[in-house]
């Protein structure tokens, strides 16, 4: 939930006509229709809901008294009432998550449906955009999704659950195929027919594929154009909550049993086999620690974090670290590491192709920097991948970083370095801009170089750069 101009409407909250999210003065509000407000009030009295809220599974929320509501009258008139939500530190999207994060979100979604249905409620949708990560735990943020369960009603969110959670998890667990590009390519996820095309005959023997993919696709094709009122047919046939519960419980078991063998990554073993001596490694850690302690940033981005070695260092002296890497395995290891600090948010992110603004009017989902602007960026052992692997001109990369942050810790990796030699081995070396002198020249266009230190016998150099405007 980004902070916008005063009383800006959240561009991604338009789908449910029973509510809308607004940002005002750094606070987050949700306008609710009359029925949704009544549902919220009733829910608050229910023990199952109170337990979920007390366990931190629902975003902290409270109804705002009309007299205390700071929103403009034009907004207030549109809704029967308003909630205020606790702010989420950094909003992230499912295509930035790891397998473990999507699985955690799916388990939370299913738990909420089960508890709700057990108590006469349901959730009207099942999208991971309604889940966020706070202190590394999944938290459900769309309370307007709860609604009373009508007699004989099926679970309306089942299909969406498959498309947004289950099929992407299947892709990763069963095919070893990264799910993020699918969720970034289609706002509604992996549709049933696409999933059926992706899972072949052999896959039908894998748990859950035959029913949730193949059979659903078959029924979808058969009934797709039907004008029959299915809800009415199911209701008159006696469809009941036990059927939903049976399905949800089986889905929970299925999802919990899904695993992804996160081996074989190019970078996943980096932390065990880094190109440094222990002394150089300690020197690098000390450089990062000193930089963070001296500059006191509130939000650090660690771009190219690998398994988060230096994110952990930054996290000791900074309230929020966003750790991103192109490598799904490395980021997954960081997420699954029980010892990792809670103030690290791990994200899968390719800095050469970062999350775009897209969806309805290209505003429904926003690019990462609109959701969280860093006041310090770490770029360690990254620059050679950006310039040589991704072919991004050095000057453009530094311009980009300067547009992002006022404080930068960047590491230059010289051409003598083994990794650089490996990257260049099959390429024509047309990277005349890739030199230490060139880097220093481009950095000095935007920053003052406060400090630098050589590591690895001068094969690598660390810089702390700060814009003169900050001091």
């Amino acid at each position: 939930m980004t902070t916008g101009t005063p009383a800006s409407v959240d561009a991604g909250s338009f789908r449910d006509r029973d509510g809308r999210v607004y940002h005002f003065g750094g606070r987050v509000f949700r306008g609710l229709s009359g029925p949704a407000l009544e549902t919220f009030r009733n829910l608050q009295t229910r023990p199952f809901y109170q337990k979920l809220a007390a366990a931190g599974k629902l975003v902290g929320s409270r109804e705002v008294a009309a007299a205390d509501n700071p929103l403009p009258d034009a907004v207030k008139r549109q809704w029967a009432g308003f909630l205020e939500h606790d702010r989420i530190g950094v909003i992230s999207y499912p295509y930035e998550w790891t397998f473990g994060m999507l699985k955690a979100a799916a388990c939370l979604q299913l738990e909420l449906v089960e508890r709700a249905v057990n108590n006469g409620y349901t959730l009207k949708d099942a999208t991971p955009y309604n889940v966020q990560f706070v202190d590394r735990r999944a938290v459900f943020i769309d309370l307007a999704s709860f609604e009373p369960l009508g007699e004989g009603e099926p679970w309306a969110g089942y299909r969406q659950f498959c498309e947004m959670y289950l099929f992407p998890l299947f892709l990763q667990a069963y095919k070893g195929c990264n799910f993020q590009p699918f969720l970034r390519a289609a706002i509604n996820g992996v549709d049933v027919q696409t999933a059926a095309a992706l899972f072949g005959l052999r896959d039908r023997f894998r748990k859950g594929v035959l029913t949730h993919v193949w059979l659903q696709a078959k029924l979808d094709r058969h009934y797709g154009g039907s004008s029959e009122n299915v809800r009415s047919s199911l209701k008159s046939a006696g469809f009941n909550r036990e059927l939903i519960l049976a399905n949800v419980r089986k889905l929970s078991k299925l999802v919990q049993g899904l695993g992804w063998d996160a081996a074989g990554s190019e970078w996943g073993d980096y932390s065990e086999f880094h190109n440094y001596s222990d002394t150089d490694h300690a020197l690098k850690e000390a450089f990062v620690r000193d930089a963070v302690v001296a500059e006191r940033p509130t939000t650090v981005w660690d771009i190219g974090c690998n398994t988060g070695q230096f994110s952990r260092v930054a996290a000791t002296a900074c309230p929020q670290v966003v750790s991103m890497d192109i490598d799904h395995v490395a980021v997954e290891r960081l997420f699954l590491d029980a010892d990792a600090p809670d103030n690290i948010l791990p994200l899968v992110q390719n800095i050469a192709d970062p999350s775009p603004s897209w969806g309805w009017r290209n505003r429904e989902r926003s690019e990462l920097v609109h959701r969280c602007r860093p006041d310090m960026v770490l770029c360690l052992a990254l620059i050679h991948h950006v310039v040589i692997t991704a072919n991004i001109p050095l000057a453009e990369f530094i311009d980009y970083l300067a547009g992002l942050t006022d404080r930068l810790v960047i590491e230059y990796v010289s051409r003598r370095d083994e990794k650089v030699r490996t990257l260049l081995r099959n390429k024509d070396d047309k990277y005349s801009d890739y030199s230490r002198a060139s880097l220093e020249q481009h950095l000095s266009r935007h920053f003052d170089i406060e400090r630098s230190a050589d590591v690895n016998d001068g094969d690598r150099t660390l810089y702390l750069c700060v814009k003169s405007t900050v001091h």
């Binding site: 007699e151 099926p154 679970w155 309306a156 089942y158 299909r159 498959c162 049933v192 029913t211 949730h212 059979l215 659903q216 696709a217 078959k218 029924l219 979808d220 094709r221 058969h222 009934y223 797709g224 154009g225 039907s226 004008s227 029959e228 009122n229 299915v230 809800r231 009415s232 047919s233 199911l234 209701k235 008159s236 046939a237 006696g238 469809f239 009941n240 036990e242 059927l243 939903i244 049976a246 399905n247 089986k250």
Partner: protein, 67 residues
């Protein structure tokens, strides 16, 4: 049991048309996924559709909470 339910649904369901109604098949699937709890519902669905096919019952059920 699942095969029986699927066969019922496919045999007695309405004809498909060219455009998609994204939730219909998924809603029927929930009956199958309900497992044992769904047997009674599936039989009733089958019975209603059979009656409709034989012209002994109107195909479109009105919204009625009494059934």
């Amino acid at each position: 049991m699942r095969i029986l339910i699927v066969t019922c649904l496919l045999l007695f369901g309405p004809d498909a048309h060219a455009y998609l109604d994204p939730g219909t098949g998924s809603m029927f699937l929930q009956v199958i996924l309900g497992g044992v709890a769904a047997i009674g519902v599936a039989i009733k669905l089958y019975w209603h559709k059979l009656m409709a096919a034989l012209g002994l019952r109107k195909k479109e059920e009105p919204e009625d909470e009494s059934v």
